[in-house]
């Protein structure tokens, strides 16, 4: 019926009050095609996608010289016409189905809702069609799952159910806004595979993502957005191998992984890290058969490793692997149910309260969410002052010391009187690092320190951590779910799965010659920039029903 582009927009501008979130964006998606928009937070990529289905929100002003959806002039659409397009012509999938599906309703009802709204299926057959849809998106035992609530399903199954609700009325175009962002890497690979299957069945895709590597798997064409403007556009292969715009080049250089090992991430020309290769020192932290139970469930099971002075030990695992619990056990914030964590040869248990405080000085921590780790009433000066007090710096010298610390983490003295809430995510994490360095620790436990940051900010923070290690000789226990980050920063790696150590070894050995099946499975699931196209996706790994029900 319609052979032109499914959606087509020219010179799109979206503003919220005086703020222009999107400026002069043009874009078209043809039948059967997969187009991707890539950008960091605030780039306007989601707003662009939402304006294609008229859902930019109450206080947005949308202007365009041309906006056509399904061959009709959408600039003249009223709410009623938009509603007829949504769900039937264009399906829409958001990230994290735990909050993108109504948590108070069974997933089957949510899928049925799309069918009921558009009356494409007779009422009597709706139930049957819901089960069929769930089966289509690879949900095992669909009859059972239809009656379950989002929180009763695993992340992967939830996301599949969300996709089922979006494709219920067979739209020609599916817009997926960060469809894999909250997911583990193996599950991410499965969802990408599912989206690829949809495309194979003739549905066009508009993929929105912050992750170039994810996009590389599926997209035919890529648009790179920055600050509301498209800075580069072209076929995926060309953009990835021969980027024209400096921002695209910076984005590509910022991605940590095998190729970035030993080089700086925040500059494009592949500068080597300053890190002088020191021989690993004496053991500073040793975990011996650590065990921790939560409500009868074993969260950490016989975990052992050692961290030597001046080195970086990467602790990697998917959600539920117990990696954060291990970090908390090492920090003495949790008491182990078995085994022990030795800090310079002594266990937390055998220390007196005073000795424990002394030991804590030497082993500091940087969290994923720095904001919640700061007292909301404190300014940056107060935060650093307290940490310097712990380090035994006399009151009179603390101000100068605080300025020195800020300088060390690349911040100027202007932030001293500000509260963390007024700083950007990257600045906050720098303050958190400065605070951790104040008592002159020998070990820094980094618990997902860059997971909440944009790629380019992540690159800066990782470079900063590398510089600090070179200058101060601090050892890092680096906890992350992100294999690329772990590959980039670690000297040695511990792979965790469901609380157990699957494999330990030198970073090179783990990533090039893994011994455990699980490690191989993880590595195979990493979306790779150098092998674009769906061919590199892992073979259809159907989810295993036994592990899918989560408490």
């Amino acid at each position: 019926m319609n052979t032109g582009p499914l959606v087509e927009v020219e010179d799109l501008t979206v503003s919220f009050g005086t703020l222009e979130a999107v400026r002069g964006v043009s874009l078209a998606v043809n039948p059967g095609e997969c187009v991707a928009i890539v950008g960091e937070s605030g780039s306007g990529k989601s707003v662009t996608a939402r304006s294609l289905i008229g859902l930019t929100g109450e206080n947005a002003t949308v202007r365009a010289s041309r906006l056509r959806v399904d061959g009709q002039d959408a600039l003249r659409f009223g709410e009623r016409q938009w509603r007829q397009v949504r769900g039937t012509r264009v399906g829409y999938v958001l990230q994290d189905a735990l909050v993108s599906l109504d948590p108070l309703r069974p997933v089957g009802k949510e899928i049925a809702e799309t069918l009921k709204l558009h009356g494409t299926v007779p009422r009597a057959e709706i139930e049957e069609r819901v089960v069929e849809l769930l089966r289509e998106v690879g949900v095992p035992e669909p009859e059972l799952r239809a009656g379950q609530y989002p929180h009763e399903l695993s992340g992967g199954l939830r996301q599949r159910a969300l996709i089922a609700s979006a494709i219920a009325c067979d739209p020609e175009l599916l817009i997926a806004d960060e469809p894999t962002t909250a997911l583990d890497v193996t599950v991410q690979a499965q969802i990408l595979r599912l989206l690829d299957e949809r495309r194979g069945a003739g549905t066009a895709l508009l993929l929105i993502s912050h992750d170039l590597a994810v996009v590389a798997q599926l997209a035919d064409r890529v648009l790179v957005m920055k600050d509301g403007v498209v800075v580069e556009e072209g076929p995926t292969g060309r953009v990835l191998t021969d980027p024209a715009h400096p921002y695209t080049r910076a984005l590509l250089a910022a991605i940590p992984g095998e190729h970035s090992k030993g080089t700086r991430l925040s500059v494009t020309s592949g500068h080597p890290q300053p890190a002088p290769q020191r021989p690993p020192g004496e053991v500073v932290i040793e975990a011996r058969g650590l065990v921790k139970d939560f409500r009868g469930r074993r969260a950490v099971d016989e975990v052992s490793f050692e961290l030597r002075a001046g080195e970086t030990l990467g602790l990697v695992g998917e959600s539920g692997s117990g990696k954060t619990t291990v970090a908390r056990l090492v920090l003495g914030l949790l008491e182990a149910d078995g085994g022990q964590a030795l800090i310079e040869g002594r266990t937390w248990r055998e220390m007196t309260a005073r000795q424990r405080r002394e030991a804590r000085r030497h082993i500091q921590v940087v969290y994923q969410d720095p904001l919640s780790s700061f007292d909301p009433r404190f300014s940056v000066r107060q935060i650093l002052d307290e940490a310097l007090m712990v380090g035994g710096v006399p009151r009179a010298e603390r101000r100068d010391q605080a300025l020195l610390l800020l300088d060390q983490v690349g911040l100027d003295g202007g932030v001293l009187e500000r509260r963390p809430r007024q700083l950007s995510g990257g600045q906050r994490q720098r303050v958190a690092i400065a605070r951790a360095l104040a008592p002159r620790p020998r070990v820094l436990v980094c618990d997902e320190p860059v997971s909440a940051l944009d790629v380019s900010v992540q690159a800066q923070v990782l470079d900063l951590l590398a510089d600090l290690q070179a200058d101060l000789g601090v050892a890092y226990l680096f906890v992350s779910h992100h294999l690329g980050v772990i590959h980039h920063v670690s000297d040695r790696v511990v792979v965790l799965k469901e609380g157990r150590v699957v494999e330990t070894g030198d970073v090179g050995q783990i990533f090039t010659n893994p011994k455990a099946d699980y490690t191989r499975e993880l590595l195979a699931a990493i979306p790779r920039l150098d092998q674009p196209g769906a061919a590199s996706l892992v073979p259809a790994a159907r989810p295993r029903p036994t592990t899918e029900v989560i408490q």
Binding site: R83, V90, D102, E110
Partner: protein
């Protein structure tokens, strides 16, 4: 096989939660009875005098009271026999009214139930409509309604009652000025009672609605082609009800307080009038009886609401 184990564990956990809940309820009622008993003991003067209150009785009657309540026995024995009475549902005797407290309360219960039910029902309906219509609307609409709600929560209800009474009963003569058994007599009191509750509920519900409407699942629903009204009714409203349920126990207390005042303003029969008369007449058995009764009702209501919570929010079924 793998599924049976967690299900059995869940059932056991749920059963334990219900038992804990029941035990807490009994504890609360026992506590209320103890407070009442302590109140009796704390009253200055002899307990027999306190029971009699301000009514004048003959020495024979007084002797009878002492025998009835076992006032010549040790305090602990008195306490136990008082608990025994409460368990049997015997709330004692009012010498001012010269009838059993149970009978006196029973006679007034209907009128009060009518009033509170009408007030609460009206408030719930008005607040829901108001919240649905004003949540996430233009600044102007929200400003006006939140201003009105602010005034609604600040106005003392006895004053509202007097104003309504004067305008609609005395000046316009639309409604009976005092008492009034039928529906006509119920309208003004119910409106006065509903006013502060409506204002409060509307605030809470609008806030809940607005929070729900900002959630990603609302965007998903709209992206399916759902209309704004349907999104509000079918998705957001349920979420907005959760904080209301949390508030309900507190609301019950508010309603009972309002009941006492409203019954005074409109010269109505009811528990409030009964209680107020008892307070001024120092008729402690009646005061204690009403307090105990309302505490028990509160416990029942709270238990029901906890169950309702589980019905509305499936996420809690796992946790309990």
């Amino acid at each position: 096989m793998t599924k049976a184990a967690p299900r059995a564990r869940r059932t056991r956990r749920r059963l334990r939660a219900v038992l804990v809940r029941l035990a807490t309820s009994l504890l609360v009622i026992w506590g209320a009875a103890t407070v009442s008993f302590a109140a009796l003991q704390l009253t200055p003067g002899s307990v027999a005098d306190a029971l009699v209150g301000t009514s004048i009785v003959s020495p024979q009657v007084k002797a009878q009271i002492i025998a009835d309540y076992g006032l010549d026995r040790p305090v602990l024995t008195q306490y136990l026999s008082y608990l025994g009475m409460v368990v049997r549902g015997d709330l004692g005797h009012s010498y001012q009214l010269n009838e059993s407290v149970g009978t006196a309360i029973w006679a007034q219960l209907g009128a009060s139930l009518q009033l509170t039910a009408a007030g609460m029902g009206l408030a719930l309906v008005l607040a829901t409509v108001l919240a649905l219509l004003t949540a996430k609307r233009s600044r102007w609409i929200r400003g006006v309604s939140s201003g009105a709600e602010l005034v609604g929560t600040s106005v003392p209800i006895f004053w509202v009652g007097i104003l309504l009474l004067t305008v609609f009963s005395f000046q316009l003569g639309w409604f009976p000025a005092a008492g009034g058994d039928g529906l006509g007599g119920l309208i003004l009191p119910a409106i006065s009672m509903a006013l502060p509750v409506t204002a409060l509920l509307a605030q809470v519900m609008r806030e809940g609605l607005e929070r729900a409407l900002d959630e990603p699942f609302v965007l998903t629903a709209r992206a399916r082609g759902m209309s704004d009204a349907a999104v509000r009714l079918r998705h957001a409203l349920r979420h907005a009800l959760l904080p209301v349920i949390t508030l309900a126990g507190w609301l019950f207390g508010l309603l009972l307080g309002a009941m006492v005042v409203i019954e005074q303003v409109f010269s109505r029969q009811g528990l409030g009038t009964l209680m107020l008369g008892a307070v001024t007449g120092k008729d402690l058995p009646v005061v204690m009886g009403v307090v105990l009764l309302t505490a028990s009702v509160y416990v029942v209501i709270n238990t029901l609401l906890d169950l309702l919570y589980l019905v509305i929010d499936p996420r809690l079924r796992e946790a309990t």
